[in-house]
Amino acid sequence: MSKGGEHVLVVDDEPQILRALGVILRNAGYAVATAATKSEALDAVSVRPPDAMVLDLVLPDGSGVDVTSEVRTWSQLPIIVLSAVGDEREKVRALDVGADDYITKPFGTEELLARLRAVLRRAGDERDDPVVKVGGLEIDLTDRRVSRDGEEIHLTPIEFDILRELAQHAGKLVTQRQLLQAVWGPGYDLETHYLRVHVAHIRAKVEPDPSHPSYVITEPGVGYRLHEPAS
């Protein structure tokens, strides 16, 4: 349930989807506004800025990418884009121009609500607690210590930096570029093989079964997500 009835704008040109999402989000405690076109969406954002936006990539008068880049010129409100299988390029473009996360259609209600909570949490800022807990995993951001189910895990400095970046955005997508810049600094945007190698090492130490990762999840071609194990 949403704490304080946060305001969510849903943008999709399909009325049945607006209807269903409206029911689901209101039921979860959010206040919902809807828009069916790019221009309606931009109007709605400027008239009454929402706390978060759920945005379809394909709109009759433009693309969700355009909406994202226009909104980003003046607002940092969290944006989750809805993408279909096969829309990979558009989805990546939307993330590149500033969307916070994506969800692939068709999606389950739980998945959407989890993503929404994650982006809203970042917007509300959860940084007062230096220890991030995800499932049995505890990451102490100030002491640089990691443990799983009470057992201390030793990470190299680079491995810890990667895990810290994921932990600070727990549940939320962290793009490859975001990780590379946070850990190695600007100019390393394309060195995605660094991530492959170090994430494999992190999994070997952190995951109960590294060949079926349950904490550090790969979003293929996009980034990684620190995730609470399902069971």
Binding site: V85, K105, P106, T192, H193, Y194, S211, P213, P220
Partner: protein, 455 residues
């Protein structure tokens, strides 16, 4: 030179007669002059022959008939001799001329026959290549360059360009074709004449036009084939769509109308909702498959290459399949040091989720699907193996064809493996089916040069 021949023949005859003079009668000596006349007659024209006859009679009369060293034709014998010489000269001359004409004719026929033979050989080779479907623009100059006379000297050259580039010892003739422009060049002094070159040009031009027409028809027929193939595929798609979409849609509408009825138990409501969810997901999968297949068939796969850790995509794929298939066990046994490959990660995840799902579908319950792998021969290979009922030998060649349903036709669309192959090949990979140890699909990618490790 015929005058010289006549004088020389008469002089030789006179010398011979002088040598024999006194040994035989004058009458016999005349025969020697007749030989001179006949000699010249056979070799030279009629006028020279007559001149030789007259000269011989005069020489005979002057040198050997009494009174010697005077020209006095008084004897009837001399008149007869002159008449005989003239008649012999005329008759033999005619015969000789006819014979000479025949010889000339034979020689020119022989030349023509040789030219025709060379020409025929060249045309036959070109025709054979045209029928064999070779590109005439490339092959014709090469074939022409190989044609030589019997001494191996190059004879003919063809250039498929519109401006002639000829050397002085060649006849240049434009190829009279409607489809291309080109020139044929024939060496002079090898028995060929301009008319022969022109005849050759006409024959080659016909062949070029035939070849051009053939190429045009081939393109047309390939397009027609492609269109026919597309039609067959479209029909298959429509068939699959109408058949496969109907059952989940029926289930969804039935469940939805059931939900709108009142008085259901909580358990029944949950069941109906779950029907709607699973059947909708099945429909969504089918739509995705169809879209993927159409992208593959249109050559529009367009991979977005990145460094891919195959552990990553296999794990992601296995997680998807396990969620959708009641946690069927998947044993991932990839070596830790499997090298990174360069490929589109989302497409690879689709590849492995389709393969694993396929393997799960044919596995006995509880028997794990195995994912193993390794490197070798410059390739990185991942193998997905199931222990289910194998694929009959007769069906193995077809499993990658769209809409083919092997083994028992489960709930799949019959597109999974066609999509797998399409994505694998678009990402520079290869896929092989082997049945030696369970049913196993081996996907391999070229081992990329591994990037430098991070600092």
């Amino acid at each position: 030179m015929s005058a010289f021949d006549a004088v020389a023949a008469i002089a030789v005859a006179t010398a011979a007669v002088a040598a024999l003079d006194g040994l035989t009668s004058a009458a016999n000596l005349r025969v020697i002059y007749l030989l001179a006349v006949l000699f010249v007659t056979i070799r030279r024209d009629e006028a020279t022959a007559i001149a030789t006859a007259v000269g011989s009679v005069l020489a005979l009369n002057y040198f050997f008939i009494e009174p010697r060293h005077q020209l006095r034709i008084s004897h009837s014998e001399d008149v007869v001799a002159l008449a005989v010489f003239l008649v012999a000269a005329l008759v033999v001359g005619r015969l000789a001329a006819t014979a000479r004409d025949r010889a000339d004719e034979a020689e020119s026929r022989e030349r023509l026959a040789r030219v025709r033979e060379q020409e025929a050989r060249l045309i036959a080779r070109v025709a054979a290549e045209v029928l064999g479907g070779a590109s005439i623009d490339e092959r014709l100059p090469a074939i022409a360059a190989e044609s030589t006379d019997e001494d191996g000297r190059p004879l003919v050259r063809v250039e498929m360009r519109s401006v002639p580039v000829e050397s002085q010892d060649e006849y240049a003739v434009r190829l009279p074709t409607g489809s291309r422009s080109g020139w044929v060049y024939v060496r002079r002094n090898l028995g060929w004449e301009r008319a022969d070159a022109e005849r050759l040009a006409v024959a080659l031009a016909r062949l070029i036009d035939v070849a051009a027409e053939r190429e045009r028809l081939a393109v047309q027929s390939a397009q027609a084939d492609a269109a026919r193939h597309a039609d067959v595929l479209k029909t298959a798609v429509l068939h699959a769509v109408s058949h496969d979409f109907r059952s989940p849609l029926t289930a969804i509408t039935t469940a939805a109308s059931g939900l709108s009825e009142g008085g259901l138990s909580e358990q029944d409501r949950a069941d109906l909702v779950s029907v709607i969810e699973t059947e909708s997901q099945r429909l969504a999968r089918m739509v995705t498959d169809l879209l993927d297949l159409s992208r593959i068939q249109a050559g529009a796969v367009d991979p977005r290459e990145d460094w891919v850790d195959l552990h990553d995509v296999v794990a992601g794929a296995a997680a998807q399949v396990r969620t959708a298939n009641g946690d069927h066990p998947v044993a991932i046994e990839l070596p830790v040091d499997l090298p990174l490959v360069q490929a589109d990660p989302s497409q690879l995840e689709r590849v492995f989720s389709n393969l694993i799902e396929n393997a799960v579908r044919f596995s006995p319950p509880g028997v794990p699907v195995r994912v193993s792998g390794g490197t070798g021969a410059g390739r990185v290979t991942v193998r997905v193996t199931d222990r289910g009922r194998g694929i009959p030998a007769a069906q193995r060649a077809q499993v990658f064809e769209p809409f083919f349903r092997g083994r028992d036709s489960g709930p799949g669309s019959g597109l999974g493996l066609a999509i797998v192959r399409g994505f694998v090949e678009a990402n520079h990979g290869r896929i092989q089916l082997s049945t030696s140890d369970g049913t196993s699909f081996a996907v391999s990618f070229p081992a990329a040069r591994q990037p430098a490790p991070s600092a």
